[in-house]
Amino acid sequence: MTTAPLLTATATDGLLELRPGGSWIAANVAELEQLSDAVAPQLDRSGNVRLDMADVRELDTLGAWLIEKMSRRVMSAGHRAEVVGVADYYAGLIEKVRQVNRASSPPAPARNRILGKVGDIGRATLGAREDVTVFLQLLGSLCVAMLGVLRRPRSLRLTSLVYQVYRVGWRAIPIVVLITFLIGAIIAQQGIFHFRKFGADSYVVDMVGILVLRELGVLIVAIMVAGRSGSAYTAELGSMKMREEIDALSTMGLDPVEVLILPRVIALICALPILSFIGSMAALYGGLLVAWFYGGMEPAIFIARLHDAVSVTHFEVGIIKAPFMALVIGIVACSEGLRVKGSAESLGRQTTTSVVKSIFLVIVLDGLFAIFFASIGM
């Protein structure tokens, strides 16, 4: 039966006698800490101490440790502490506890705050350089693996490739169509609403057509794929890394880049242009419906105007970007996956990093392409 713990102290000429009683167990830890803190000053003042354990009803490791701590406190002051009245069945535990916590761990070296900050900045800079290195490294190994596949086409993991295309391409179609459709519709509605003020609402077709085909179609699809498939790649490779599956693969003489990463990246490179095309069509369709029902423009007129407004060049500009974006997403996702360390937390962190980084890079890449196409006059 659990009873409240007690600790009585009686001092008789130079000898302090402590009588712990009741339940010295973990469940009573709050009281126990108070009791032992309360006698601490007495322990420091007194000479020799005797701990009489006869009244202890229950004892566990925590209680035994608190008692051991009291006797150590006395001994460290150079006095004698004896523990008496220990019941047989507690002797073993007290003996065990007597041996623990002997080595005092050295205190962690104090950290200079300013120096620490400077150090953090330096490390972050080096980290950024490392990001670039890792990216280029993986790009290089992908090229090597690709060359290997070109030399020996049989070494391409066809099953895996087809499965990945199915996963990142086919299964993504519904959500891609839905979102791009809505975005096309929204752009058309906003265009009609604002252009109407100066009677230019028929130009909404030009706006929707050029915006969707050149920029938005591919950009939105790439961002969605980064969130949907890039994160999945990172999480998969990361948990394989955590459970040493990737190490197992390489000890069997297989190249993880060739087996795991190449099919995934190629699948993305195949799927993203197709998804962009489907997405652009869905957006145009959304624009057409809004122009019809909200702007009162017959579909036939919409299509005729679209024909005049956009050329194949606009479409090319959009679709050419897609494979490069896919490459960036694939490499970032896979390299972040391979950087997962042992813990679940790092898996989560790396997945977040992967999505944030690939969306950022996709947008930067889009900007670079815009400059490039402008300067070659496309």
């Binding site: 167990i25 535990l93 506890v97 623990v100 916590n101 955590m242 813990s343």
Partner: protein
């Protein structure tokens, strides 16, 4: 020192557990007495871990009754499981350490969750537990991914024992430990059992552990307990699988002891 006297720490009646159509545990009954160390042996893949996880309430059962310390154990994650959690400590076969906490934080976790105590004391207790299972205090700062297989086992054991629970479930605690460490482990379990009145349910293939620390040994075969009793009695069991287990080539070291 025990609460309301229930003679059995664990009672299992007519338990059936299966995955799909196949029953892994089939009409199994088992009693574990208070304060005893029960060793469970059985073939690899024979359902020992499944039995342990069912008793804890992690795997739903198809029929049967389970009582731990007089309280019925319901389905997965039920209230009874959570209430009982304060009274048992569990060592999973794979360790199941929290990968984003250090070894010391892993041991402190149950302390922090169920007790109110100062950080200093918590550190001391965690260090004490780690040392009791044979780890150096420096190892406490390592993350689970930086621990060796045996060290993982020890940290998991320290975590299972963190609250000095009334029952500990140990799934192959000594596998992956060297014989010296395994011997220390046996001694530790014996000491804790004597002092704390610990009930231990231990799945093990370690014949030395079975012989030295287990009060009773149960043999699981074909989803049932086919023999249970002291080691001496098991060695005389007529069940073919039990005979093969204890009288195989690797078990010959037990024989002189048996014939004394």
């Amino acid at each position: 020192m025990q609460e309301e006297e229930v003679p059995f720490a664990i009672r299992v009646r007519d338990l059936v557990v299966g995955f799909g159509k196949r029953a892994v545990i089939d009409q199994l009954s088992l009693d574990v007495r208070r304060g005893e160390i029960l060793g469970l042996v059985g073939a690899s893949g024979g359902g020992k871990s499944v039995l342990m996880r069912t008793i804890i309430g992690l795997i739903p059962r198809q029929s049967g009754e389970i009582e731990v310390m007089g309280a019925a154990i319901g389905g997965t994650g039920g209230r009874s499981t959570r209430n009982a959690a304060g009274r048992w400590g569990i060592l999973f076969q794979q360790g199941a350490l929290f990968s984003s906490l250090t070894a010391r934080q892993n041991v402190q976790f149950p302390l922090r969750e169920s007790l109110v105590l100062s950080d200093a004391l918590m550190d001391e207790i965690a260090n004490a537990k780690l040392e009791m299972v044979g780890l150096a205090p420096e190892d406490g700062d390592k993350f689970p991914s930086e621990l060796s297989g045996g060290m993982t086992k020890r940290v998991a054991l320290a975590r299972a024992l963190a609250l000095d629970p009334a029952i500990v479930f140990l799934d192959e605690p000594t596998s992956g430990l060297d014989p010296i460490a395994a011997g220390d482990f046996d001694a530790l379990i014996k000491t804790l059992q004597k002092t704390l009145g610990l009930t231990v349910f231990m799945v093990t293939h370690d014949l030395a552990s079975l012989n030295t620390v287990c009060d009773r040994v149960a043999a699981l075969a074909d989803g049932k307990i086919v023999a249970i009793g002291q080691m001496r009695e098991l060695l005389q069991s007529e069940h073919p699988w039990v005979r093969a287990y204890f009288h195989g080539k690797r078990s010959l070291m037990l024989q002189p002891k048996a014939s004394q």
